[in-house]
């Protein structure tokens, strides 16, 4: 019987399931709009019930994603303001040296990979990439949703610029998830076939040793941990 640690709260796990579902829905309804002249996109639009319906779903999913992001950010700001957040996701200087050391280790030019605390630089990169990407797609998406309102205050040229930004940011997010996230959460030999932590919230002691030794060391100082 191995020891497990709670890595993610119920709120965090729920947020992940939500963002995952909405991301799939937004990609499925968004990419065919970006590539609408391609035969596969036309086929998808047909199958999903036409351009009007696909837009409706994309907007509904987008508004849900907006609400979710707003909730997440408000919660984060609240916990930082009240001093309850450990700020463990905030990038720092060590992340850069970690990245360099890890890459050197991969190349065989360092003895060992960097040792990580609660979040490694790849996880921080993905989290902040998602937050930044969300800010871009949400703001540009709202511009595209309400162009009349928006141009009462701002120049019209921002609308086509928002369209270019929205569709490219969406494409980039899609590609990053397909390549980077799928590798890290599924295909990576360390976790293959499936890293369940974000769904169960639990992580084993073995993995803590391997992936988050600094966090484990911190935890050992404040609580008794039984090493098998």
């Amino acid at each position: 019987m191995s020891t497990y640690f709670t890595r993610f709260t119920v709120r965090q796990r729920t947020e992940h399931v939500l963002v995952m579902s909405l991301f799939i829905l937004l990609s499925v309804t968004g990419l065919p709009q970006k590539y609408f002249e391609a035969p596969w996109a036309r086929w998808m639009i047909d199958v999903l019930g036409g351009i009007d319906r696909i837009r409706w779903f994309h907007r509904a999913a987008g508004l849900s994603f907006t609400a979710m992001t707003a909730f997440h950010l408000m919660f984060a700001i609240g916990s930082v303001a009240s001093g309850r957040s450990p700020l463990s996701i905030v990038p720092n200087r060590k992340d850069f040296t970690d990245a360099i050391q890890t890459l050197q280790y991969y190349l065989g030019r360092a003895e060992a990979p960097a040792q990580f605390d609660r979040f490694d630089y790849r996880q921080k990169f993905e989290y902040w990439g998602l937050v930044l990407g969300a800010v871009v797609v949400i703001s540009t998406g709202l511009i595209l949703y309400f162009p009349i309102l928006f141009t009462r205050l701002f120049p019209g040229e921002l609308v086509p610029a928002a369209k270019v930004a929205h569709s490219n940011e969406g494409l980039m997010a899609f590609l990053v998830v397909i390549l980077w996230h799928i590798y890290n959460a599924h295909l990576n030999p360390d976790v293959f076939p499936f890293d369940k932590t974000i769904f169960t919230g639990k992580i084993s002691l073995e993995r803590m040793h391997h992936e988050h030794p600094l966090e484990l060391a911190r935890l050992k100082q404040i609580q008794d941990i039984e090493e098998p």
Binding site: G50, T151, G156, V164, M172, L179
Partner: protein
């Protein structure tokens, strides 16, 4: 053996220039119908002239091909049997189908026309073959090309007057390049303005000329209009809507919604709907509450460039660089990690 069979078959075939079955020649009919005063008064009180202008007939497209009874088939006895017609229109409506015996393809097309739909609704004034082509004096309808549109103008006076002032109509008689009525509405299967499936083909209709590089070069016009339209919200929607869905289900701007229909003007003419000064009004027809800034949300058929839309161009360039850079970096890290795992094992 085969050759013998072939030759026998060939020789037994009737000569190709068969003499037509005996029928009264034109001169027989004109024995009476060359009388200019010949006429009949119908029960409606209308007078129907029975005089035939032989000169006009001989000059017509049928002049050396048909004789009277080819069309007037039922005129078999002299004097002719009494006819049941009470008005002149009765006579026209009863006879126009004579044309289909030879012109079957075009006749069939007319069955899909807005004119035939009117006829089906018992609109007795709906035009039939002879109303556009004439009867005894039929000439090629498109020589000169302007004649086609002038034919439509006989009934559609109001529309023609508007069209005649448009950028197309002004040059109708000077150039065969500009579209006349039938170029958009077609000729035999004439499309009416409320034909949804035809309306949806508007971008295609306009593109027939406006995407033609050689033709547009003559007038210094851009052929990017179609691609830039399709690339934006309106054109994308239009290109994706199935032909069957009614237009009302999702209102989308077609070429004519911004540029006008029969009154299409040059883009830089004072009356043009797409002139900068008029744009807010044009956009507001659909986008209620549009402000002065709103029309710039549409790039006026320009491709984004540093000169025309620097912000749009810049954002696109940014992502064109960022996306490959990002993906290459991530892929490299994945490959290195994977390689390290394999080496360590």
């Amino acid at each position: 053996m085969l050759l013998t069979f072939f030759l026998t078959t060939l020789l037994s075939m009737p000569p190709s220039q068969a003499t037509p079955p005996a029928s009264p020649d034109v001169d027989t009919c004109l024995g009476c119908h060359s009388d200019r005063s010949m006429a009949v008064t119908l029960p409606s009180g209308e007078t129907r002239a029975l005089y035939v202008d032989l000169d006009a007939f001989r000059k017509s497209v049928h002049g050396n091909k048909l004789s009277c009874t080819d069309c007037h088939q039922d005129m078999t006895s002299v004097p002719h049997d009494a006819r049941p017609f009470t008005t002149k229109r009765d006579f026209t409506l009863a006879y126009y189908e004579q044309c289909k015996r030879c012109h079957f393809a075009n006749y069939t097309k007319t069955l899909d026309s807005v004119h035939f739909k009117a006829l089906e609704r018992r609109d007795r004034m709906a035009p039939t073959c002879v109303d556009c082509h004439g009867a005894h004096d039929i000439a090629p309808p498109h020589r000169p090309k302007a004649r086609l549109s002038q034919t439509c103008a006989h009934c559609h006076e109001g529309v023609f007057a508007v069209y005649a002032k448009s950028v197309h109509g002004r040059f109708l008689e000077k150039s065969d390049d500009v579209p006349g009525c039938t170029d958009c509405h077609r000729s035999h299967d004439v499309a009416g303005p409320r034909d949804v499936n035809w309306q949806k083909r508007t971008p295609e209709l306009c593109s027939a000329c406006h995407a033609d590089k050689a033709l547009m070069k003559k007038y210094g016009l851009s052929t990017a209009v179609t691609q830039t339209y399709v690339a934006d919200f309106h054109g994308m929607t239009a290109s994706l809507q199935g032909a069957g869905t009614p237009r009302e289900s999702s209102v989308v701007a077609l070429c004519t919604d911004c540029h006008g229909v029969h009154d299409i003007a040059k883009v830089n003419e004072p009356g043009s709907r797409v002139l900068r000064a008029n744009l807010v009004k044009t956009c507001s027809r659909c986008h209620e509450g549009a402000s002065e800034n709103f029309p710039a949300a549409w790039m006026s058929h320009y491709e984004p460039s540093w000169e025309k839309a620097p912000l749009v161009y810049g954002v696109q360039l940014f992502y064109d660089i960022l996306i490959p850079f990002m993906m290459a970096g991530l892929l490299l890290q994945i490959l290195l990690h994977f390689w390290r795992v394999v080496v360590n094992r």
